[in-house]
Amino acid sequence: MAWVPETAIPRDELDTYIRVDASLDEPLNVSMTPTLLLPAWKDSVYDQTADASPGRSEDDACCRLEAIRSMKLYPPSLSQWDGSMVIVLKDGTAWPQLWFHDEESRNVIASSAAAAATTTGEDGEVAEHQQWGGASVICWLRRLVQVGNDRSPKDPHLFVVNPTAEDELEFGLELGEEETADEKRRRDSDEPPDGIAGDPMVNTLKDIKWNVMARFSRVSYFTRTMTGNVCPLMPYMPTALRSTYQEALIQDICDDYSSAYVYLAKWASDASKHHERDQMEMSQWRLEQTELGAAFEVLNPPPSFLVHRTSPVTVEQWRAWMDDTGALTVDVAIIKKAIFSGGIEPALRPSVWPFLLGVLPWTSTEAERAEITSNNRQSYEKLKAQWQTTEAKSTDDYIEQSHRIEKDVLRTDRQLPIYANQRKSNGASAFLEGNPHLSTLHAILMTYNYYNVGHGYVQGMSDLLSPLYAVLQDESMAFWCFASFMQRMERNFSTDQTGMRHQLVALAQLIQFMKPRFYKHLERTDSLHLFFCFRWLLIWFKRELKFDDCKRLWEILWTDRYSKEFPIFIALAILDQHDVVIMDHLKRFDEILKYVNDLAMTINLEKTLVLAEKLYRTFEKAVHILDEQGSIVLSGQASPKSTAASGDDAPLLPASSSSSSPRISGEWVNASTTTMASMYPVTDELRSLLGDSDA
């Protein structure tokens, strides 16, 4: 059971996301994985404590419900206008105080309070404070875990969280559904026909989720206000209302049909993603189980991996990892893990990127690195000299490529100060507008064009070089880092496009494995070639992310922490955040392409990273289990009487696999041991997505 507040809040919205992952576990028990996402809090105190308390950073704060020891709730009082809440974990650490700005969204509070009152009337001692957010948090939390019914005699504000048996969840089941919450369900009519809408369990879950969200949407940290929110009620409105809200705009564009749909899709994504998406995700867990959905049928219930994003590696940390000679004294795996989890502080990037890109060896001392760098510089100058002779410059190839590179350098990241136009109109006819950095980009790409004769320069490479040079600002170092990066990316630029095709096929299969309903939609729309992901993978989301985010993502990807193919999971994670909107609104490939292209610069990187890691680990686990089943079935067939342990009866399987995956219930293994592995073959493409570090 996990409780994950998170700062996935785009810019000026003070909206709150919430996700409830729910699934049916063993027949009688219900396991719930509510994930609560809190508004961002940015605070210096918080940042300072981030290192000391693992699992939290300014971007991500989450903990397992079991890990919560207690919560202190301070209702609003005369001396303190806003109520607040402090969550104390079992490891003794505490979250920063969260404040409930109840008065700032009266409408929401009124409806939520009314709704809450109807269902939680039995919680007498809380009812008196029903009108403030914290009380409801406790109410809803009580449906999920046991929250100390009696406040501690020592401290009247203390609530002890004590998650125990699943019978608490039964309690949640008994609570009735609420019309008010249901009315808000945007997609009621579209509910899948397998009875999800009528399932009291699911409805209850929805209500829980909904109300907790309503509460948390008003939790903020001191200075946060809702002023940025034009229409705070938007996400809570019923569909029809929301549509009316936008009616004028819709009317304006309705004659332009497909644009209207792409527009509607975007709008739906923006305005209602919190609500709609969470809801769909919930039903999808069910659907994917009832449809194909290998990953989720195999992993029943779906695991709830905890992903901790941390703060970036700092210069101080990096220095501390080195001895007097400048050699790293810490295991590379640890360093990479730290970078994967938090990235690198901008000031440290020029030092660390050459390591990540293999230009400088992790084991080297400062002196050795100086020598390597110097040698590299000489080699680079030699390479560069090759194409600077007059005879080289007279070849057709030179003229064509130089022109091409010049054209592309002139239109790569020109909005960045480093590549912007130089105002000095001194050199009127100056090459590349007189900006020496552009000339350097040109020189590096020209040198690469001659260095890698096989591929030469291809469009897209300037996008790959630009961040490297902007960070390193050293021509030779940037060249070697680029050349090394290109070794990874080379397959993307092959003439026959096999490298790209291979990745897109793997991604398609991964979607089929993880998100079959979405896969079917793509199939119906003739979009399985996934060309709308082409740009994503070709240049590693360079055009999709803001420049700083792009640097962050790349350094994370260079660590190869889980797999060299992690970009595929980034792609999956982005699609995962938009699949509902795409399925609901976009019925043609061109619409999907436009929608996906227009996602550029709207992607929340941290959220995507968390999701990607979860998806990867879910995938990995599913494959692991399938392999285990498959091999046992095989060995069972090969030597049915060999041992008792791998014997002929499926029920033995849970015992053998329970050490690594206690969640596997005996039930499905019993029912489908033989079919599961054959039903969901792990193709070579899928397997190629796994890293070596499959433990």
């Binding site: 579209d190 569909t239 332009d256 049909y257 996008d463 709308f532 055009r543 609104h585």
Partner: protein
């Protein structure tokens, strides 16, 4: 909901008696000849200096009017470099129109355009309307063009003296026109930057499209297949992604 509102819309605007005829148009041509800029000019009436190279493809739509009919162009703007050639067929497949662009200051770009045109005539929809566009007319200060390039040199372009300096034209108007006539193409020399001949070119393409043939398939609405139904009213024609339903 969407079904309803769009029905209202068509009903409420009697001046537009029918819904737009959708025409799939693809832009092809060597890298950096100005494909994206032409589309930006046509669709948004914008020009962006140093527009980044297209990776993969972009999709845009814009309407134009031919007599009483509304033509809606669905424009596929593709990456130009030869290396990505193998992707092109999926974009020009089922296209009813193509604009093949070259750069009047770069002779090789016309060769590239010619090979695109050959490929289209061989492999694309046989009725495809192809326009040849010689772009970057603003760069050549041909006296006879009488362009107002100077007054268009805004302050923001002031520093780009290098670019505004006259560049030698490498493809003459005559040469291109002769080729275009031989190959049966529409021909325009254009400037996306100065907005020369851009709208005219797309209008001319629209006029050349055999609309009647397109009307037939595009009028048959698919009877509300999927339950979501938001897209259904346009989900026909080539919507299914190229089953040739629009290959007249």
């Amino acid at each position: 909901m969407a079904d309803g509102s769009s029905a209202d819309n068509t009903g409420a605007s009697p001046s537009v008696p029918m819904k737009p005829v959708q025409v799939k148009l693809v832009l092809l041509g060597e890298a950096a000849v100005g494909k994206s800029s032409l589309v930006q000019r046509f669709v948004n009436n914008e020009f962006q200096e140093n527009k980044e190279p297209t990776i993969g493809a972009a999709f845009l739509t814009q309407k134009t009017y031919v007599e009483d009919k509304v033509i809606k162009f669905e424009i596929w703007d593709t990456a130009g470099q030869e290396r990505f050639h193998s992707l092109a067929p999926m974009y020009y497949r089922n296209a009813q129109a193509a604009v093949v662009v070259y750069d009047v200051t770069r002779a090789p770009s016309l060769d590239r355009a010619k090979s695109w045109i050959k490929e289209l005539q061989r492999q694309a929809n046989p009725n495809i309307v192809i326009a040849l566009a010689g772009n970057k007319l603003d760069l050549v200060n041909d006296a006879e063009q009488g362009l107002h390039s100077e007054e268009d040199g805004h302050d923001e372009d002031g520093h780009e003296d290098g670019e505004d300096m006259p560049v030698t034209r490498q493809v003459s108007t005559e040469e291109a026109r002769i080729y275009a006539d031989e190959a049966g193409l529409l021909f325009f020399e254009t400037s996306a930057k100065l907005d020369l001949n851009v709208q005219e070119m797309f209008n001319e393409i629209a006029r050349k499209i055999p609309i009647e043939q397109l009307m037939a398939p595009s009028r048959t609405g698919r009877p509300g297949g999927a339950s979501a139904g938001r897209i259904e009213l346009i989900g026909n024609g080539q919507g299914a992604g190229g089953r040739g339903s629009c290959a007249c």
